[in-house]
Symmetry: none
DNA sequence: GATGAATGAGCTTTCATTCAT
DNA sequence: GATGAATGAAAGCTCATTCAT
């Protein structure tokens, strides 16, 4: 058995348990049980409970960034790229619901270490948006007075809030696609040169 | 000393402590110390630790909603109203930094009880936005195809993400006003009829 | 209002509360509520929680001893007297159920102070039995080889165990009178000279 | 170390501590210290403080019942059997003083859970007496009008009260054997057919 | 005397982490 | 590497008692 197998099993178990119970209410023994390993085994792969959250975050967000960038390579038009980003972001919920819950909820702790970490990795993800905006401005498609550093966050925040809505309401009023279309509509309308 | 004094003192102390250490890492004795009361005194005013968070949330968000609505009464034009909402939301940070941290962080965590509670009161706040959008559509200022139920969340989410940035980075690249202006610019451009 | 009124009210309230919840699970505030006085008022009449139990015990057992002795004055024959004692003892349950529960249960704590107290007062009560046995032996009715110091306890213990049965089982198989008759029958048969 | 070792160590420690301080005044840390384990270890073997008392009771009374029944198998005459029961009951004090204190004191207190539990196992013990009485009646040795259901309790109560005396007075006036002989004398005299 | 808000010591229980096997 | 029994620090909460009013 490769070392990474156990590591993976524990990470995946932690995602499930953190999503279900929250970081603080999750017990190491819950994760161990879910991963079908002994409690002590977890400490062969992680330094402590926080480390599991941090590692999980680092690895999974890395995968998402990679996947998103690959997807965007197929597009060249900034407008289409922003729409693709939105769809991809909202679609995470379908395929990785538990992970999204963890990213949404548990990474909001007012714990300096977590926040520092969250920021570093998130910036990489959000910067995908600012790069698209820059590209759009360079190509004369987006308004020059738009500040990518602000709008990348606004765009991400808007999508993120929609995600939160779906996580919390089991019976949402809107579909993911409707939301994606609406949000892109407003943002694009707001930033393109007409 | 009026009864409400102790209640107030504990609430304000809890905001400080929760903002500093997070809900789970905050100890009752921390709050008691900060409020300059005995540990047991807290239980004369609150049922348990959660109850402090819930009460705090209910009271403070109530004040914010009231204040925001009062402020908006002075405006009649939907565009101005949305801009006022944005400024007011971002300004909360200046006057009530610790409270905003608690609302941002601790009330987003995946505790069912908190989430359920949070939802009802939060909806009231966010609905201020959708009401403005409705009004704008009725007056023929905003595009009819905009769905207020989605855009209210997108708008709030965008502002909220900016707030988070300021909470986490002590030295932000942008001022609050810059951000407010930019976000309003994009959104309004995106939703007004030209 | 006489001082003793408050004292009485608290004592009676304590009997009810101790019977219902047990000494340790009873709170001073429960007793205060039941007695319709403030918590602090209790400390004007009693030194502490144990003191309530002790006082209650001393006063109530005193009343019982007095009542029992008065009743026995009407009888002269040792056999009849023992039977009367038994009936009287078992009858306490009917008229003072809560008090009997407290005496039965709460005075069994392995608390030296309580036990010492219990012993002193109880001896006075149980000695009523040994005095009757002595009298019976002097009159040639009871066997001389019977040791009153042992049999008084056996007799009391037998009756006491029946009491416990009624306290614990809401639907007992036997009536109080049946039990009294049976126990007297056996004991008297066992100690009289035939 | 076998699992049962820790369980046994904790049980025996609990008996000592409960006997010394009483159930409510005994702290978990007292038991842990006495058992030479960590506080938390206790919770690997017991659910809570009550559970220790209940388990202890179940196990120990079970042993006593077994031992008593084995002992009685050697006798066939009802009179001898009752005498043997009495001796055995009073002898428990010599060999298991602390356990007897717990059974006498702590398990008589008005906790509903304990009472309910106590009843079932205790009945099994006391029923040893009623079975002997039945046997004696069947064999025409004991009077037919004796009600075993009542007299079993009277007999037990008489012995139990003697036990209490020895627990409380370090310097008793009578020996255990004297007491056993006297009580059996009276009871047997009272129930045999002459 | 009477009140009841305030106190804070005290205790059960949990659970992240360790380490002997 | 893997285990899981054992650890013990830590904290939420209770409640007898006090004392200013």
């Amino acid at each position: 058995m490769r070392v990474s197998d156990k590591h993976q099993k524990i990470t995946q178990a932690a995602i499930k348990v953190f999503a279900r119970k929250g970081f603080f209410n999750a017990r190491i023994s819950d994760i161990a049980k879910e991963a079908k390993v002994a409690d002590g085994t977890i400490y062969l792969y992680f330094n402590n409970k926080y480390d599991i959250l941090i590692s999980l975050f680092e690895e999974e967000i890395g995968k998402i960034i990679l996947k998103t960038k690959l997807l965007l390579e197929k597009e060249t038009h900034p407008v289409e790229m922003l729409m693709l980003f939105a769809k991809q972001h909202l679609n995470l919920l379908k395929e990785h619901r538990e992970l999204v819950v963890v990213l949404q909820m548990e990474l909001r702790q007012s714990n300096e270490f977590i926040q520092e970490y969250r920021n570093t990795k998130f910036v990489e993800y959000i910067d995908i948006v600012s790069e698209i905006i820059h590209k759009g401005q360079d190509e004369g498609v987006f308004r020059a007075e738009i500040m990518p550093g602000i709008i990348k966050r606004a765009y991400f925040g808007a999508l993120d809030e929609m995600t939160r809505l779906w996580i919390l309401s089991p019976q949402p009023h809107y579909t993911l696609d409707e939301a994606a279309v609406q949000i892109c509509d407003v943002f694009l309308n707001g930033i393109v040169i007409k």
